[in-house]
Symmetry: C2
Subunit: 337 residues, 2 copies
């Protein structure tokens, strides 16, 4: 068998898996933003009827997966594998969501890059001939993330100008070896890149060098120019991180004129007071499952490079004076037909 | 392409990847146990020269990977992918260990089952034709785990009779598509199984139903009887959990006469005062990389089923009254030749 690896970091799928179902569930604030019409379900109660924020996140993730399965016309038993992750300690958002689902389960931790990691692993697993269908689901919740990473909401801490707002949202996609949806054609797996940023309220700056590294690797490995893609979409660099990415690529003579960032898309900077934009696993996952894939389905775009970004630190690491390692995975998706 | 999936949960590798390098690094207490001769490096300083237990764990994991690469005669640049995980919040043991390694990185969270999850994903990735070599490395550290999950060591909390002792250890293996080492032939991916155990000092009871579920699925999917294997080895059920597993299988008329448990093997119950045995990602990983693979290499055993077990809760989930979800992945490994 010939290798299906291109260059140092990219897997080229020989039979690109098809995205057969997609769904996203978000909270109230996200539903007041510019992408409201693209979300499948907007909760008016951010507690999702549960007694804790963590249980709310699990409920939201379970609902996103159920909706994606429904759109794909599948029962949970129709899935061979489930790839899932979130931001919470020990990934409890995902394990409790998957508990009654009876699907062989892979737990992932890639911080906000987890949708990219999941799409990469699910695509390679199906392309490798292991099963027919896999789902990827990830989530984040503003209230569970704030109390874990920063301060309890009741404390009313002041946010710094570079801060981003963790999205309350979950996105799920169902991939199939055969199908008629948009196809995952290439995945470029990121390395850990750490340029020494220690301000945990400036995730955009910590993750931008990782996005630069992975997007550069993808272009090098595939021989493509940025213009091959209708859009190159990062996960949650936010407004500042996006500027840094564009600047870093400019230094190599690469102009990124077709860049979008899910963190910058999901909230309205004028009216929603989120400083540098949205963040969290659920940010790019719900934007992918809601807005981006719809553009591919409707023919507005033909090729996109979806590049979720993650910051791999923890509060403990920050207290110990460590800098923030970043990672980014790039997933090339092509419209059907 | 025909599917390489057997039954509901098992992937059968068409070109079983070979284990080309293996190494384990453990702490002092582990080096005083019955498996001392099988460990590559026994630290006399559990801080590994670092200023925090978390940094010590990262240093240990980095060392285990470096030794495994060295035994495989490879530089880090010879790896296509790295699969890594640990027990710490946001998996910082792994991300900081992998930070300077420059290898495309997949972060995993499967609690103490992570070595199984990593072997499953790495094997399927290589068998699918994506690259030539991948490494899996996981770790746990008694001191970082105690303060995160239970109480700071200085508190001197009393341990309950069902408690297990988190192993300070890291195990790494290097898998290659071609090679002459023991081969991973099948992987059975576990589902989340939760029978309502809420005592977070009784992980063996929480995980035994998951081990029962996955081992049963493996035997069903492959049509093998337990006797096909020289040994069926669970991760860290410990002494109580192992009894529960044997009892659960007995009820189905299955006698497990060839069972071992890494948590029961790594410490001497008579002299080391660990109650129900060892636990942690690093427990089964270092026993695999040290003791188990050596038995296969030396011809003592021909076939083993390696079944790491994990408890997917968190302290927050326990405080909120949630039970402990368990998971187990089964990896069939056959001696070379």
């Amino acid at each position: 068998m010939t290798t299906k690896k291109l260059g140092a970091q990219t897997a080229a799928l020989s039979a690109p898996p098809s995205i057969e179902g997609r769904a996203c569930v978000v909270g109230r604030k996200e539903g007041q933003g510019p992408l409201a019409n693209y979300f499948d379900y907007i909760a008016q109660d951010d507690a999702f009827g549960q007694s804790s924020w963590e249980k709310a996140e699990s409920a939201m993730q379970k609902q996103a997966l159920a909706l994606a399965l429904d759109k794909a016309g599948l029962a949970a038993s129709g899935l061979d594998w489930l790839f899932a992750g979130d931001l919470l300690n020990q990934c409890i958002g995902s394990s409790y969501a998957a508990r009654e689902q009876d699907i062989p389960f892979f737990g992932l931790y890639g911080a906000c890059s987890t949708m990219g990691e999941g799409l990469a692993l699910a695509s390679m697993t199906l392309d490798g001939g292991f099963g027919e269908r896999a789902a990827v689901v990830v989530s984040s919740h503003f209230c569970s993330a704030e109390r874990q990473y920063r301060t309890p909401l009741e404390y009313g801490g002041q946010r710094t100008p570079t801060a981003q707002w963790t999205v309350t949202g979950s996105g799920a996609v169902v991939l199939a070896r055969d199908g008629s949806g948009p196809r995952v054609t290439h995945v470029t797996v990121g390395k850990i890149v750490d340029k020494g940023i220690k301000d945990t309220n400036n995730m955009g700056a910590a993750m931008a060098p990782a996005a630069y590294d992975t997007i550069s690797a993808h272009l090098r490995d595939t021989g493509r120019s940025p213009d091959f893609y209708d859009k190159i979409i990062t996960g949650d660099l936010g407004i500042l991180g996006s500027r840094l990415l564009i600047d870093l690529l400019n230094r190599d003579g690469i102009t990124l004129s077709n860049h979008l960032d899910c963190g910058a898309l999901i909230f309205d900077p004028e009216t929603q007071d989120v400083h540098c934009g949205g963040s969290g696993c659920g940010c790019c996952a719900s934007v992918l499952a809601g807005y981006l894939l719809k553009q591919l389905e409707e023919g507005a775009w033909k090729h996109i490079l979806f590049c979720p970004t993650g910051a791999l630190h923890s509060p403990t690491a920050a207290f110990q004076g460590e800098s923030v390692p970043g990672i980014c995975h790039a997933i090339a998706i092509t419209a059907a037909g």
